[in-house]
């Protein structure tokens, strides 16, 4: 009986998503339309892809506050490459590489200098944002070719193409997390770092890899964001870290490490997406919306803590 209660609580994110979906379908005639649904997908794709990388980081017991800044850096540099005449795929690859490099920096700083990731990424958040503004002179990168728009706005068989990009990233992340050494070690490091060290795992190497992957996925998100805005915005992504971390936590990720899943994170990200879309449709004050998202994060963690506390003894 009590075990059932725990299962119900574990299903809570999914049930909340379903409830939110049904509620919005009834409350707003404009919700359940192909146009609106595909715009929800497009709006959440960026957060969703970043949240996949953040899932790895959080499962490993870390955190990355610099993702919003990395998104802007990657988008700006990628856009500059394309605006200067490089082929679009090269430009996108440049964006991914930028993200990967900043991820490496985050990972190396936390492992080599043994600085807590919260502090490291709080620092790189400032550094990356500053460097982006210096490189771009604070101005958006414009003059992108029309074809670049199709990355974020294209469709295939009536389905937004970013959904396919998201699906591929999600499947890959899921496979990495569940069927590779890297994934297993990520859970092991997040659950009990010392035991991982004593098992002879090179904890440093795998931690750096986790931050690098998170950075790379953020770079991809940056290119999608640039394509959506059709500019390289050096100020893009401010406050995204909050939404990304919220998506992971709502989906069952534990900030103390060792817990989290791709499916949970996807659900978490879509809950965030529906909340924001729903408040637009229902005309909720945007300031209130922000407060609402904050409250939901606290609520999600509280429910999760209650579940674990009951289970622990």
């Amino acid at each position: 009986m009590k075990r059932n209660a725990a299962t119900w609580q574990r299903l809570l994110p999914f049930l909340s998503l379903a409830a939110l979906f049904i509620f919005l379908s009834i409350a707003s005639p404009n919700f359940l339309t192909p146009t609106n649904l595909s715009s929800v997908v497009r709006q959440t794709a960026t957060i969703n892809i970043m949240a996949l990388g953040m899932t790895l980081v959080i499962v490993s017991g870390g955190i990355d506050l610099s993702v919003g800044a990395i998104l802007a850096f990657a988008g700006t540099i990628g856009a500059m490459a394309i605006a200067n005449g490089l082929p679009i795929p090269i430009g996108i690859a440049a964006g991914l590489l930028c993200g990967l490099l900043w991820g490496l920096v985050n990972g190396l700083l936390t492992t080599a200098l043994k600085i807590p990731p919260f502090i490291v990424t709080l620092g790189t958040l400032g550094i990356v944002r500053g460097v982006t503004l210096i490189i771009s002179g604070g101005l958006p990168v414009v003059g992108l070719p029309r074809e670049f728009e199709s990355l974020a706005d294209g469709s295939f068989a009536g389905i937004p193409s970013v959904l396919f990009v998201l699906a591929v990233c999600a499947i890959l992340t899921h496979v990495v997390l569940h069927s590779t050494k890297l994934g297993r070690y990520t859970y092991a490091i997040g659950s009990n770092k010392e035991a991982a060290v004593y098992a002879g795992i090179s904890v440093g190497k795998y931690t750096v890899a986790v931050y690098a992957i998170c950075g790379m996925l953020t770079g991809l998100a940056g290119m999608i964001e640039a394509s959506r805005l059709m500019t390289g915005q050096p100020t893009a992504g401010q406050g995204y870290e909050l939404q990304v971390i919220a998506a992971v936590v709502i989906g069952g990720g534990s900030l103390t490490g060792g817990e989290g899943s791709v499916i949970g994170t996807l659900i978490g990200a879509f809950i965030m997406g529906l909340l924001s879309n729903g408040s637009d449709l229902l005309g909720v004050n945007p300031y209130l919306r922000q407060a609402l998202i904050g409250a939901i994060i606290v609520l999600a963690v509280a429910v999760d803590e209650a579940r674990k506390h009951r289970f622990r003894q």
Binding site: Y198, A199, G200, R310, Q313
Partner: protein
Amino acid sequence: MCYLASFACWISPVLLHLQAIEKHFGGITALASGDLQVNAGEIHALVGENGAGKSTLMKIVAGMLRRDGGEMRWKGQAADFTSPAEAHRAGISMVHQESLLAPHLTVAENIFLGREAVNGPLLDRRRMETETRRLINEHGFPIDAASLIHELSPAQKQLVEICRALHSASSLLIFDEPTSSLSGAESAAVFRIAQRLRDRGMGIIYITHRLAELRPIADRITILRDGRTVHSAPFADLSAEQIIHHMVGREVSAIHQRQPSPNAPERPTERLRVELPGIRFALHAGEIVGVAGLMGAGRTELCQTIFGITPAAQGSITVDGRPTAVNSPQDAVRAGIALITEDRQRTGLTLSMPVRANITLAHLDGVTRNGFVSRAQEQAVAERFRTRLSIRAASVEQPAGHLSGGNQQKVVIAKWLFRDAKILLFDEPARGIDVAAKAEVFALMDELARDGAAILMVSSELPELLQVADRILVMRDGAIVTELPRTATQQEIMQHAAVSS
């Protein structure tokens, strides 16, 4: 009726009376029917296998858990402590098995935690430190009042726990296996304290696995099995065999005495040679070498150096005849060295992960094909070790944290056997595990040695060392002071281990 009861309290020294105490966690019954009666001025041993419910019963007495059923009377009155603070006020204190100390505060600050000495609105640091020093000196503990807790060894932390409980206990003091991390001299000190407090009229409850040590001082014994009190009697009325029989509910063969292998080669192969300042020894295939010494003699540090946790600044480690640089656990593991640590919950296991994942953690390559971890192979491996080491778990998918101490230890050993480690360092392998599991672990070590493993075994329990090891190295102040044969006596070992006069 009411004043009859209080009159009875006047003349009888009954402090604590527990009847049919029940406690459930989720669907698991930790206590089905716990009975216990403790008198003032007695040392009461509480024994039972791991998972028998001893700690749960005591946590209920100390106000850390609420009971789900049964009756508790304290000094003749019905009692129900809802918090440790309430139990404290009633005069009950508990020395915990796991450290419940604040790591970044000093010894003195921890001892006074929650009842700080104050001078107006300010803390009276000097008084707390002086008082703590007095307490430490009175009992001759090797700790400093100003040290930070996280700088201390597990054994020293245990002594701080004891000081903390002593500082506040007034009527009943509960020890939850305090000596399991202490060496002979320290546990003798703890026993002296217990006797002194008993003579002052306090009640002492002592949870332990080390029955032999408790025999000279304990007055009564209560035995729990599977959450029920199965027997209670004066300690002197029960033989060790009878106690074990009540604990496990079946006959257990005496702990296995290791015999030298009959077909041991004339010149066994040298597996490991360690040459560090003050330390020189070799470990051969097929032998178990014991390491004895007092707390702080450097035994755990020796294991950690060989395993690359704290690489040596000077000296050399030779594995299979080749000088080997061991600068990290990865180097050690690659060289075939395994460390079964003294603190398996912290460094040996990932408690939230299933038994399967714990067993394969040090050798995932063994179940990885084309870059993918094969769940099916993993399960097969885990099942094989579950059968071979008779690990008692509902399934290999059960989280390691749900297993008893003995079974957790077997999971740690399985992890290194799957890795095919040939040099095994066991640091206190039998700590906190019950009699039956202990015998199994020792039998397993014996079997591994017969199969050609080279084993180093650190233990604070001399009878264990003498039973299991082929020869014994004695350490003192970070150096090996002598080597003794298996025929040595406990007294001989102690003479070398203690600071010579």
